[in-house]
Each structure stands twice: as structure tokens, then as C-alpha cells.
């Protein structure tokens, strides 16, 4: 079977491995402390840590896109901003 059409590159491979590692990490965390620590945060409805991860990742994607569209192609700053955003989400949402 020839899979060269998938056109893997190192950056995208690292990206997907990071996502996979995050999911595995969440599963392990959930296994040792089940229930997902549900609470009602600033969004006024109940979220678990899985929801918070999803909101962080999706929000980061939009932060990066917005940076690319409005500021410029240097995405390291956008990435830093995303990390701050993710910490905020895990702390307050």
C-alpha cells in the first residue's frame, strides 16, 4: 500500500502527535480522577476538563488564524497568546 499521497511533513506530524499526546494525557488524568471536575464557570454552564480542552484548542486555532490575517506570518507570538488563552480557559471556564 502506497501512502505517499498523504504527503506527511515533520511539522504536521509533530502537530498531530501533540494532539494525540494531549488526548492520551486527558484519558490518563480522567482515569485517575474520574468525573472530569465539572463546574460552572464564566460561560454560565457546566463544563468538564474535556470541554475546556476543546474550547482551548478551537480558540487557539482561531487566535492563530486571526493573527495570520491581521498581524503577519510570525505565528510564535500567536502561539504564546494561545497558551495564555488556554491557561485562562482552564482556570476560569
Amino acid at each position: 500500500m502506497n501512502l505517499s499521497w498523504m504527503a506527511w511533513t515533520w511539522p504536521t506530524a509533530i502537530f498531530f502527535m501533540t494532539i494525540l499526546a494531549l488526548l492520551v494525557g486527558m484519558a490518563v488524568w480522567e482515569y485517575f480522577s474520574p468525573g472530569g471536575n465539572p463546574r460552572v464557570g464564566v460561560l454560565r454552564f457546566e463544563t468538564t476538563r474535556g470541554d475546556r480542552l476543546f474550547v482551548s484548542l478551537l480558540g487557539s486555532a482561531f487566535i492563530n488564524l486571526a493573527w495570520l490575517g491581521l498581524v503577519g506570518p510570525n505565528l510564535w507570538w500567536a502561539l504564546a497568546l494561545s497558551v495564555v488563552y488556554a491557561i485562562g480557559v482552564f482556570r476560569y471556564v
Binding site: 504527503a7 511533513t9 457546566e46 476543546f54 486555532a61 488564524l65 490575517g69
Partner: protein
Amino acid sequence: MDKTWNNKAWFMVLPVLLLVAFSAVIPLMTVVNYSVQDTFGNNQFFWAGTEWYAEMLHSERFHAALLRNLFFSFIILAIEVPLGILIALNMPRKGWGVPVCLVLMSLPLLIPWNVVGTIWQVFGRVDIGLLGRTLSMLGINYNYVQNPLHAWVTVIVMDVWHWTSLVVLLCYAGLVSIPDAFYQAAKIDGASRWAVFRYIQLPKMNRVLLIAVLLRFMDSFMIYTEPFVVTGGGPGNSTTFLSIDLVKMAVGQFDLGPAAAMSIIYFLIILALSWVFYTVMTNYDAER
């Protein structure tokens, strides 16, 4: 219902997971890979970084297609939802009329989408179509091939024809589940028709209306086949919605990189919207 905690349930979900992951995860990864590279065919790829994303975000063509699609979704929701409620309220509840109405109304939903396009393409033609012929006899210079406004009206009427029944059926399902006692109580109170609708029927339909709006919004946001068959995205680009533009770019011009970048942005928008809808829906359920 309180459910038992049982991680072995994963084994029951496994077939579904594998089946969907095969068709969803691998293509999605491939699209991400394409979006950061340039190609001239032959499976030769060159690193392009975020170039395509930047190009898409600044592309007039993409903005126009996105706006057009949002506008289209907004219009059809504004027509189909009230119309669907109105028809559902006036449907018969008993007797031979019920199956007849249900079957006839669901019929457009089961016609292959390109046949829907063909039906309306033929129906609107000035030379052989009933609608086109009638309109031109009335003195209206109707021509969906050349006039953008007429093309839009045709596509919207076609979508109303195709999908309003979905809203009708959902609302009808909500309405028949209202116990008769509610109506009697309203009658004793001397409630007006409007009050019955506002305080008895509408609350009961909330849930299904949410599903209807969700499904209609998502499906209209990815509409492809029907307008493609009728107008081919034209005249000009006036009915080129996101999916039509995407297929044009990927298959027609073989611009894999930009098409992939556009797919990712398109997908992220859909993901965010479905999350909002889904969260609203599950929280609404939790409150009840």
C-alpha cells in the same frame, strides 16, 4: 436516567469508532498536510508554510463566498422555519389526511439532490418549464441563467421546496405529543389562538425547533449539488457558495494547497458552530 459507569462500553463503540475514523481522520490529516505544501502533481510536495492560509484569509473570493453562504443560510432559515411552523399547526391530526400529508410532504426529501436540481432547472426554463413559461406569459422577463437576482430566487425557492418539509415534520412530531388536557385547560381559560400557540404549542416545539434550525443551518452551509446543477455557481459567481467554490478550486483547478487551507478554515467554522448548537441543546435538555 442515571447511567452506570462502565469503561467496557468502549468495546461496543469500537466498530463505529473505527468505521468513522477511517473516513474522517485520515482524510482530515491529509487535508492538513496539503494545506502547508505546494504541489505540481506526481506526489511531489514543497513546503509552503502558512502561505495558503494567509492567501485565503486575504482572498476576496473566499470572503465573498463565505458572506454569500451566510446570507443564503439566513434567508432560508427565515423562510423555512416560520413557514414550517405555520404548516405544522394546520396539519390534520387524525384520519386519512395524516398519512397522505406525511408521505406527500416527505417526498422531496427523498429525491437525489442532483435530480432536485434537474427538476428545478427544467421547471424554470422559459422554453419548456411550467414556471418559466408561466412567468414569461405574465410578462416577467424571468431568466435564471443570466439574471443574478432570478438565479438567487430560484435557488432559494428550490431549497424551500426541498427542505421545508423537514421543519414541518419536526414541528408536527412536537405538536402531536401535546396532551389534550392542555388544550381543554386553555379553552376553559378562554385563551386566544395566539395564547395557545405562545404558551402551549411553542414551548413544546422548542426542542424540535432547535434540531430543525441546527440541521437546516448546517446543511445549507454545505449546500453543493442542487445549486450546482441549476446555476453552476453562476451567473458570474453570484451563486457560488463555499462548497461549490471549494470543489472548483480542488478538482477544477487542482490548486490543492489553497483548497486544503480553505477546507480547514471552513471546517473550523463548522466545528465552532456545531459546538455552540450542541452545547445549547444539551444544556437545554439538562434544564428540563
